[in-house]
């Protein structure tokens, strides 16, 4: 089990010595069950840091955002930033390193192992508790959560209320870290990976289209999925003409060459295109943090969509995103033995 005191002490040490500019971690939220991401810059704030099953967010996003802010501020503070990273978060950081988004020296990874469990799915928990309202959730041994409600604390089997992605997690231990808290547990044996995707594939074409058609129709195109995704770090989104950057030095030729692949209106066809482009652009890059699905205001099953190609990456191409920053990416590499029989 993770000793949070050690985590706090480590963060405090980093800030006291001034070796890092900021520590991105989790602290107790003032609004609701889930922890909130915190960027702390003072050693004294380190005491606020927590790590429990409510720490669902992928903090790799904050590294991406921090880079943008530093650039906007024209900051010349070149010290690294520290980040608390679960197994999935560390894979995201690895993908970002693979794509040279930042250098290894510029980030200090404080790895935290989820060990036998993972993080909580707030919706599942609410369903489980019925009328009771969860106030806090903590690890309770190897395979349970201690859930505190207004009626006291109870122990719930983790598998019952754990996030789907954690149930299918292939590596709960950070793959990349400068320091790691908690022990490595390789074999978790909860669900087989890609279970949900495989179940969906078994459905008929008609049913699948009926399902996705409904989902795409409901999309508001609020772009919350894009905003929360650490891989969607482009300044300009190819399928969102609103995001096109017009700078003083943008030439007329550049403006003329902007492609409006889809219409802005949240029509079904355009939303379908948007989500498919995102899924394609995430192929071999998505590390299954499922943040897109969690933040979607209309509950579109984006994790299901985006892990479809991750399944191909893993099973067909033996490609495991976020495993090695030195590997070429999935689509900028090939093998002679790649599938060929689908071609006529």
């Amino acid at each position: 089990m993770i000793d949070v005191a050690q985590l706090k002490a480590h963060a405090k040490g980093l800030l006291e010595k001034g070796t890092v500019r900021t520590v991105f971690g989790y602290r107790k939220s003032t609004a609701g069950l889930l922890a909130e991401p915190a960027g702390i810059t003072e050693a004294a704030q380190a005491d606020d840091l927590i790590f429990d099953p409510s720490c669902v967010q992928n903090l790799a996003l904050y590294l991406v955002n921090d880079k943008k802010h530093q650039a906007e501020k024209r900051s010349d503070d070149k010290r690294p930033v520290a980040v608390v990273a679960k197994g999935c978060d560390s894979r995201a950081i690895t993908v970002l390193l693979q794509e040279n988004h930042f250098s290894r020296e510029s980030v200090h990874v404080i790895g935290v192992s989820c060990e036998g469990t993972g993080v909580v799915d707030a919706r599942k928990l609410a369903r489980k508790l019925g009328n009771k309202k969860a106030l806090a959730v903590a690890f309770d041994g190897a395979d349970a959560f201690a859930v505190t409600t207004n009626e006291g604390t109870q122990s719930i089997a983790a598998a019952e209320v754990m996030a789907e992605r954690c149930l299918e997690c292939r590596s709960a231990h950070p793959t990349l870290s400068d320091v790691v808290f908690g022990e490595a547990k390789a074999e978790r044996g909860l669900h087989t990976p890609f279970q949900a995707v495989k179940a969906k594939i078994k459905e008929s074409e008609e049913d699948r289209w009926a399902y996705w058609s409904r989902q795409f129709d409901r999309c508001l195109r609020c772009y919350a999925c894009r905003s929360v995704c650490p891989m969607c770090y482009c300044d300009e989104c190819v399928v969102d003409s609103i995001s096109f950057v017009i700078a003083p030095d943008t030439t007329a030729e550049e403006k003329a060459n902007r492609i409006k692949w889809i219409e802005r209106s949240p029509a079904k066809s355009e939303s379908a295109m948007y989500h498919m482009v995102r899924a394609i652009h995430l192929a071999g890059r998505c590390i299954d943090c499922a943040e897109c699905e969690r933040v979607c205001p209309v509950n579109i099953p984006l994790r299901l969509l985006n892990t479809r190609l991750e399944m191909e990456a893993f099973e067909t191409f033996q490609y495991n995103p976020g495993s090695d920053p030195e590997l070429p990416t999935l689509t900028s590499s090939f093998r002679d033995t790649d599938p060929n029989s689908f071609i006529r």
Binding site: V197, K200, I201, E205, E206, D207, R208, W209, A210, Y211, W212, S213, V238, W261, I262, E263, A267, S269, E270, A272, M273, M276, V277, A279, I280, A283, L305, R308, L309, E312, T316, F317, L330, T331, S332, S333, F334, D336, D338, P339, N340, F342, I343, R344
Partner: protein, 150 residues
């Protein structure tokens, strides 16, 4: 040869709109050979010659369906024969992923196809065209991803 055209005809009168992305060096040259050999095939597919199947962006496929294509074909050099050494290998992996995604969201399976056609395979090109049009006529018009335009 006229027979090929005959069999592709359908009672419903539905004429599919197809975009065929052909690599310049093999498949486009193969279609030229089909032309020189006067092999007849249905006229539904409009060819767009690209430099290499490796330059085939998934955006092109999705966009074509969005714009109302009933079918999309990508055709390149056979593995090992790429004019640009290995562009078709990158294409193969990318197209495979796009195809899996389109199948997953429930677009009809036969609407997106890839083929290898060499510069010497004029007859194969005509056959690929004929088969594709026949198959798409069976499925009918593509409405799932097509944008409704005023």
């Amino acid at each position: 040869m006229a027979k090929v055209e005959q069999t592709a005809k359908d009672e419903t009168g539905f004429e599919p709109k197809i975009v065929a992305f052909l690599c310049k060096w093999c498949s486009s040259a193969g279609s030229d050979l089909a032309g020189v050999s006067r092999l007849q095939y249905p006229s539904n597919a409009v060819p767009i010659t690209i430099m290499c199947s490796g330059s085939m962006s998934p955006m092109f496929v999705l966009s074509a369906f969005n714009k109302g294509a009933d079918g999309v074909l990508v055709s390149g050099c056979h593995p090992g024969d790429c004019h640009y050494l290995k562009g078709n290998f990158y294409a193969r992996r990318k197209i495979y992923l796009v195809q899996k995604l389109l199948q997953f969201i429930g677009l009809e399976n036969d609407r997106f196809r890839m083929s290898w056609v060499s510069a010497a395979e004029g007859a194969k090109f005509a056959q690929v065209m004929h088969d594709f049009v026949t198959d798409i006529k069976k499925i009918g018009p593509q409405t799932r991803l097509k944008a409704k335009r005023p």
